[in-house]
């Protein structure tokens, strides 16, 4: 595995991938030391879109930081909203009405599917297949339209509030979500027939790009990267938050630890998210969507708090330190792609360049979330 013939002259050259390379989906740069077509060393260079969200958190009130959360992982912004809402609710002891929890779960699972669909299209595009992107974007468009009606935006959502959500959903949204679940169920077999069982895709992904379980542990990789390596770890089951324990869903785990395993985990997760949405729509209670007694100026008690959620890319954690005033003393944002990308330096060693790019795509990176 990952072995290559010794180079008789020991000559290497440096190849600069990025910062604008399309295969990196954003401004990531990777410095590659190459031996012919083989990667000898890979060093990701970060910081091209670093905005210092953590400092911004320290000079605005707790509530004013909410829009920032949607601008880190712009593909699964609602999970980031969710985590920040949860940690403040934990610190300040705010109860969330049941209906709001249901809306949170439904919208964030829809958002997870849209994130996986974009990854799916872009990943196949990396590998040289163009048309799946068009199909995936067609489906993703349905979700964006749906979410736009309740959240008011299409990408960088700021929909959750401390103690609930900003807007109630109506029958149109519910009907639209039901229609989407039915539609997506019909589309999945087509995706599998068109893409998963494609012999070129299988040859590009199977047994290539190994990220084994022990490597995941040493680097703190989570999400589909860990689940593709046989680690049964999903924050929704492992450290249940919101009302996830009420739903019946499975955590897809594959043991091959190759690019194909990570691909399969995400494809299966789309189906599991559909199951959650369907159950949540069926059990939707009536009632308010905002807690009644949320103070205007929020001052969580002194101390530090941790809360994590499962985003489309893995475990996103916030460590918040409150000094008892209305602005956070410190907000640490532990983003999943960051930890998943550290793996790349070791995992890509000895790979062919096109395979290394397939590995990079299979990690599903969102650069603004890494750079923060």
């Amino acid at each position: 595995m990952n072995a290559f013939a010794p180079n008789p002259t020991n000559e290497t050259f440096v190849l600069n991938l990025g910062p604008q390379h399309p295969a990196t989906h954003g401004v990531l740069r990777i410095k590659l030391v190459m031996d012919g077509e083989y990667v000898v060393e890979a060093e990701p260079v970060l910081g091209y879109i670093h905005r210092m969200h953590e400092k911004m958190g320290e000079n605005r009130t707790w509530a004013q930081f909410m829009p920032n959360t949607g601008r880190m992982d712009y593909l699964h912004a609602l999970a980031y909203n969710h985590n920040f809402a949860c940690i403040v609710e934990r610190a300040a002891g705010i109860e969330v009405p049941e209906r709001a929890e249901f809306i949170r779960v439904i919208t964030s699972e829809l958002n997870r599917i849209s994130s996986h669909l974009l990854w799916f299209g872009a990943f196949i595009l990396d590998l040289g297949g163009f048309s799946p992107l068009l199909y995936a974007f067609d489906d993703r468009e349905q979700i964006l339209d749906l979410l736009e009606t309740v959240t008011g935006s299409r990408l960088t959502y700021c929909y959750f509030r401390f103690g609930g959500v900003y807007n109630d959903i109506d029958e149109n949204f519910e009907a639209g979500a039901r229609a989407f679940v039915a539609r997506m169920r019909e589309r999945m077999p087509m995706y599998h027939a068109l893409v998963t069982k494609n012999i070129i895709l299988m040859k590009r992904l199977t047994d290539i790009g190994h990220v084994p379980a022990e490597m995941c542990r040493k680097y703190g990789a989570t999400g589909p990267v860990a689940r593709g390596a046989g680690i049964d770890f999903d924050v929704r089951k492992h450290e249940p938050f919101s009302i996830y324990p009420r739903f019946d869903f499975d955590i897809p785990v594959y043991h091959e630890a190759d690019s194909m395993a990570r691909y399969m985990v995400r494809m299966d997760e789309i189906e599991q998210s559909l199951r959650i949405i369907e159950q949540a729509l069926g059990a939707m209670p009536e009632g308010p969507v905002m807690a009644e007694k949320v103070p205007k100026t929020l001052k969580p008690p002194k101390g530090d708090y941790y809360h994590a959620v499962e985003t489309a890319r893995g475990s996103f954690g916030i460590r918040a330190v409150s000094d008892g005033t209305n602005t956070p003393w410190r907000l640490k944002l532990r983003t999943p792609s960051y930890s998943n990308l550290i793996v790349f330096g070791e995992a890509a060693r000895g790979m062919l360049l096109p395979d290394a790019l397939a590995l990079l795509g299979s990690l599903d990176l969102v650069i603004p979330e890494i750079d923060r």
Partner: protein
């Protein structure tokens, strides 16, 4: 899971203080404070027992010592005031017994005498420099158990040994913590800025940083 199996080897490391935390309210289970010299021993224990690393970060406690001093002073002052009031009351009672014509001046002279005495030794207890705290977050894949390891170092000499040979992920986390806070991770093999520009000589998350 068996908390004892984790805490026992951690408590065996010198200078550690292991504290169980209310998970429901705070979001993690165990808090381990350790001196920089023994950090690597604690991390080795966590590595051997199968934890994975979540992140490494810092907290700048600028102003903490001043606040403590102020609190101590306020407490001393309150104590002194109470003592003075008591003394004044006692003097008043005494003077009332002796003679009613005496002027209030000697009472005032008597009062400040006990004030100065307890205040003087309070001062040196709180050191002058504030702390920079490094927080290491660990978690497990198999069961839910979060551990936060805390190391405190003075702000002007924030030196901590690297843990990058134990957890290679620390390569990046430590570079980031050094970017933002100016920690010195002794023994780190490749200490160049990660998220800040390569020539950055400022540490934006220090509380006295101004752009």
């Amino acid at each position: 899971m068996d908390t004892d199996a984790i805490t026992r080897p951690l408590e065996a490391v010198p200078t550690t203080a292991v504290k169980t935390v209310d998970y429901k309210a705070r979001g993690f289970h165990l808090e381990v404070s350790v001196s920089p010299q023994h950090l690597r021993d604690v991390v080795t224990v966590l590595d051997r027992t199968g934890f994975f690393i979540e992140t490494i970060t810092g907290v700048d406690w600028l102003g903490e010592k001043a606040a403590l001093r102020k609190e101590a002073e306020a407490a001393a002052a309150a104590k002194a005031k109470a003592a003075a009031a008591k003394a004044a009351k006692a003097a008043e009672e005494a003077s009332a017994e002796v003679s009613t014509e005496e002027s209030p001046a000697p009472k005032a002279e008597k009062a400040p005498a006990p004030v100065a005495a307890p205040e003087a030794p309070k001062q040196p207890e709180v050191p002058q420099t504030d702390d920079l705290e490094a927080v290491y977050d660990f978690n497990r894949y198999d069961t839910l158990f979060r551990v936060a390891v805390r190391v405190r170092v003075p702000r002007d000499t924030p030196e901590i040994p690297t843990i990058s040979e134990i957890y290679p992920a620390a390569h990046w986390h430590e570079r980031e913590a050094r970017d933002f806070f100016g920690f010195t991770f002794a023994g780190h093999p490749y200490m160049v800025p990660l998220l800040l520009p390569e020539d950055a000589d400022f540490h934006p998350l220090r509380k006295d940083f101004t752009a």
